[in-house]
């Protein structure tokens, strides 16, 4: 960080609040979702489902409430974020409703709508309570402990639950919660606060070896600690996805904070080391890798545990979608195990086709882009790092899971943000968006005008 943040402020034009445009876009997103919802019914039995208006109006009421909160408590916020998230969340609801119609167990649109409602409550609460996000900077270490605590919670006896082979759940009464989703938020806040405090040391100290600046050995501490934490998650919880998510985000934030490429190299080397180590030590990691390389092979396809059956069924779905897809309600999501969770993108690929996938990826890319723009426009290093980290973790999560189900990279389980069925992820991601909205409000708000502006000038010239 060489330039002072204040000097950068004029680079971002101070436009209007654009609340009207946001309202129109929000209405448009809801119309798209309602259309999709009606389309599912038409596809399945030729009738518009009776719930179209209940679900549609329910979603509309929620989103306009969120809009109201945003307009009152964050009037200068980015106008695109809320409509984009509404669209993705709404389409997720439609797809889950569609899967529910096939009778696949575990998919419930009503539950998902309820969680969406709770998500909007969390979104609103975050905006109302958190007047200034910089308060979070003071909670850096608290957040670190919370993040760590949430991450290890599923390992504790009594509360921890193991579902589908991964120990990443805790039971609270009748609900199961995936604390890692909240942990990722706390950890990004912790990383941002910590890196702002330590970045000078991490950026400058060190010596040059060949063509690269190496940090001092003792400064490797935080990187190694995060690496150890990720490996711990991988080993103890068999949660490849979260492990990769946290470590990758930390490395990128470290790079953004220190501007030092060597951190990225060190990170990549540590990642490769960790992956090789884990691959040799643990069967399930190696199984994922084999399946990625040869999903078609019958011995992997038929393998009971860690086989490629699910991946192949997902790929068949992508393949059958074509350009326009089969149309909502006319594919075969029931052929893919857990289609409402990790593999929801395969259902999108089949029923909405390449067009739908490209559009949806574009919407995700736009959300990330709005977040990164907020980071660029932010006026202090903590906000920059936090907004950048939150945007990146969202993009990184989409990349890991969508890349996994499309066989771009080995499959590691993660939810698709805002789409997959599951309350924890939905709540956590709505909080994430609330933080971005809060920061974009701060970044876009015109700086207070100095009253004595002209007078000062006169004094200076005199």
């Amino acid at each position: 960080m060489t330039t002072a943040p204040v000097a950068e402020a004029p680079a971002v034009p101070m436009t209007a609040k654009r609340r009207g445009a946001q309202l129109v876009m929000l209405a448009f997103a809801i119309v798209v979702v309602m259309g999709a919802y009606a389309s599912v019914g038409l596809g399945i039995n030729g009738q518009i489902p009776s719930g179209t208006f209940t679900y549609g109006l329910g979603l509309a009421a929620l989103m306009f409430a969120a809009y109201g909160v945003l307009a009152k408590w964050a009037p200068w916020a980015d106008p695109l974020l809320l409509p984009l998230v509404t669209l993705v969340n709404g389409l997720g609801l439609v797809i889950i409703y569609r899967i529910e119609q096939t009778g696949q167990g575990g998919a419930s649109a009503t539950n998902q709508l309820m969680w969406t409602a709770l998500g909007v409550v969390m979104f609103s609460a975050t905006l109302i309570v958190l007047k200034d996000h910089r308060a979070l900077q003071r909670l850096t270490y608290t957040m670190g402990f919370i993040g760590l605590g949430l991450l290890v919670m599923p390992l504790l006896p009594f509360v921890g639950r193991e579902i589908n082979g991964a120990r990443i759940w805790i039971g609270v009464g009748p609900f199961t919660i995936q604390p890692a989703e909240f942990s990722k938020l706390a950890l990004v806040i912790f990383f941002a606060g910590y890196l702002v405090a330590k970045r000078d040391v991490l950026a400058l100290a060190g010596r040059r070896l060949l063509f690269i600046d190496l940090p001092r050995a003792r400064d490797l501490g935080p990187v190694l600690a995060t690496w150890g934490l990720s490996l711990g998650v991988l080993i103890l919880q068999k949660d490849l996805g979260s492990s990769l998510l946290v470590f990758g985000t930390f490395i990128v934030m470290l790079y953004v904070a220190t501007q030092r490429t060597s951190w990225v190299l060190i990170g990549v080397l540590l990642f490769i080391g960790g992956a090789v180590l884990a691959g040799q030590l643990f069967g399930h990691v190696q199984a994922r890798f084999e399946v990625w390389l040869h999903p078609e092979a019958p011995e992997f396809y038929d393998r009971e545990l860690g086989g490629s059956f699910q991946l192949m069924q997902g790929l068949f779905a992508f393949g059958s979608g074509g350009i326009l897809g089969t149309g909502l309600g006319e594919g075969f999501p029931n052929l893919i195990p857990l289609s409402f969770s990790d593999f929801i993108m395969a259902v999108v690929g089949e029923e909405l086709g390449l067009t739908g996938l490209m559009a949806l990826l574009m919407v995700y890319a736009l959300i990330v882009q709005r977040g990164l723009r907020t980071a660029l426009a932010a006026r202090d290093p903590f906000s920059k790092l936090l907004a950048g980290g939150l945007s990146f973790i969202l993009a990184w999560q989409v990349f890991i899971i969508v890349g996994g189900v499309t066989r771009l990279i080995p499959l590691t389980g993660l939810v698709t943000p805002f789409m997959s069925a599951g309350g924890s992820a939905l709540l956590a991601n709505w909080i994430l968006i609330a933080l971005l909205v809060r920061m974009s409000d701060a970044a876009r708000r015109p700086p207070p005008q100095a009253i004595q502006n002209e007078g000062l000038t006169q004094v200076f010239t005199r």
Binding site: Y301, Y364, F392, A395
Partner: protein
């Protein structure tokens, strides 16, 4: 910090770019492999998601194959064949993983995927209706088909009956026995269908085989009309009254064996008219004619009837041939439809049809018209000429002789009261088997032919003393009569 943030933004852009490239790669490059992977059950389910077009005959008045909406979530539309066994070899079947017959040949129209139906399909897609296919109307005449099927089945024989409209090439009757029930192969249960199919495929009587088009047999004496046509065409001073040598046994050059007449009988007084030779179906005159005409003339005349030429038909057809050019003795044998002379019943019906149609050979077809789901006709039978097999004059002379065959020759069994029938019988040695194939080709009414027919009874299914005149001609008579009544 903005510099590195921008680089992180570029990294995000690259990640989304990679995802987009990859989904396109899946959709464009890998999709083909995935759709044919037999572990992908989608194609199996999808077959039953289409409101498949119906197959009808008699301008839509008779339903041959229909689609039933079961409202079942998994297999919504099922295929039924109301008179399956009778039409099995024409319709084929629509099985979970395969199809045959018209179901296969017209599949793209029936399931709506043909480019001609793209507009309707788009409308169905947008309005979320299940895709609907075009319906196909066949040229078959159900009343005559039923007569052919019932009579042939009642006789307990294996064989084939095919009748054509000589002027248009429209197939009026197509029956092959033994047959099978296509309904058993159309149920949406891969295991059961595979079992049923294997049982049929292992059956020694070969019920899956369409004997009209898919297998060739020696045509025997019915082929003499081709030899006669070549003989008359070669020299226009010849006519049915031209005399030809008719020894009791024809010497075959290069062999010790001779070519006798049927049953070793004499044929006239050693020299007979062409008409008499055809009426009595003498072997020796036609054997001599074949050898006199030579390979080139026989081949050329056969080709004009379509023999040895690939045929563009709605069902798969076996290749026909008069046999390879070898010693001269073979020429005498092929001229009477023996040795390596191999024809399908469809080809023999084509020969009768060309003679009936003043020498003009029409392209055979089963499709009367194809109607899109909206009711507008997208394809209609347009008669097309394949070749001119002979001059109209020669055709007339052949016709006269074939009428004589029915009135006072070997084909009296095919007489229809009040109708002039023309025809030719055939009794062909089938390899070393003691029993012969029995054939009849012909057409009626001779003055203005409305139907040309070929009846084929497979060797061994009608006893050792089966003959074309005794076994095949009466069946041909019944079927022709049924066609004429229906017309």
């Amino acid at each position: 910090m903005n510099g590195t943030l921008k680089r992180a933004a570029v990294a995000c852009m690259v990640m989304f770019g990679l995802l987009m490239i990859n989904v396109n790669y899946l959709g464009a490059v890998k999709a083909g492999d995935y759709s044919t992977d037999n572990r992908n059950t989608r194609s199996f389910y999808k077959r039953y998601a289409v409101d498949r077009g119906w197959i009808t005959a008699n301008n839509g008045k008779t339903t041959l194959a229909k689609t039933v909406d079961t409202k079942d979530a998994e297999f919504r539309y099922e295929r039924e064949y109301p008179n399956g066994r009778m039409y099995a070899h024409v319709l084929g079947f629509f099985a979970p993983e395969s199809a045959r017959g018209i179901e296969l040949n017209e599949n793209k129209l029936l399931d709506g995927s043909d480019p001609d139906l793209v507009v309707g399909r788009l409308i169905d897609f947008v309005s979320k209706k299940p895709p609907k296919g075009a319906s196909v109307d066949l040229t078959l005449i159900p009343a005559a088909q039923k007569v052919a099927y019932d009579k042939l089945r009642a006789s307990g024989k294996r064989g084939a009956v095919v009748a054509l409209d000589p002027k248009t090439g429209a197939v009026q009757v197509m029956v092959s026995l033994p047959t099978y029930d296509p309904n058993e192969l159309a149920i949406p249960d891969r295991g059961k269908v595979a079992a049923a199919y294997n049982k049929l495929a292992d059956d020694d009587t070969d019920p899956l085989l369409n004997r009209v088009t898919e297998k060739t047999y020696p045509p025997g004496s019915t082929f003499k009309v081709v030899t006669a046509a070549a003989f008359l065409e070669a020299d226009r001073s010849r006519d049915p009254e031209t005399t030809v040598p008719a020894p009791q046994v024809l010497d075959l050059p290069g062999t010790t064996a001779g070519l006798p007449n049927y049953g070793g009988a004499a044929c006239g007084s050693g020299e007979v008219t062409l008409r008499f030779a055809l009426e009595r179906s003498c072997n020796t005159p036609f054997g001599q004619i074949g050898m006199d005409l030579g390979w080139d003339t026989m081949r050329e005349e056969s080709a004009k009837f379509g023999i040895g030429e690939p045929i563009d038909f709605d069902l798969p057809t076996a290749g026909t041939t008069i046999g390879p050019e070898i010693e001269t003795a073979a020429l005498a044998q092929l001229a009477i439809g023996q040795r390596d002379n191999q024809q399908t019943p469809l080809q023999m019906a084509q020969i009768a049809s060309a003679i009936a149609n003043s020498g003009v050979l029409m392209k055979p077809t089963l499709i009367n018209k194809i109607t899109d789901p909206g009711g507008s006709v997208i394809e209609e039978l347009k008669p097309s000429q394949l070749d001119e097999a002979m001059s109209g004059e020669v055709a007339d002379e052949l016709k006269q002789m074939m009428v004589s065959v029915i009135t006072n020759g070997t084909g009296t069994g095919a007489q229809i009261p009040g109708v002039t029938v023309a025809g030719k019988t055939g009794t062909a040695e089938a390899g070393d088997a003691p029993a012969p194939h029995a054939w009849f080709i012909g057409f009626a009414p001779a003055e203005d032919p409305k139907t040309a027919i070929c009846v084929f009874i497979e060797a061994g299914s009608a006893g050792n003393d089966a003959t074309g005149g005794g076994t095949a001609a009466p069946l041909a008579r019944d079927v022709m009569q049924a066609v004429l009544e229906a017309k």
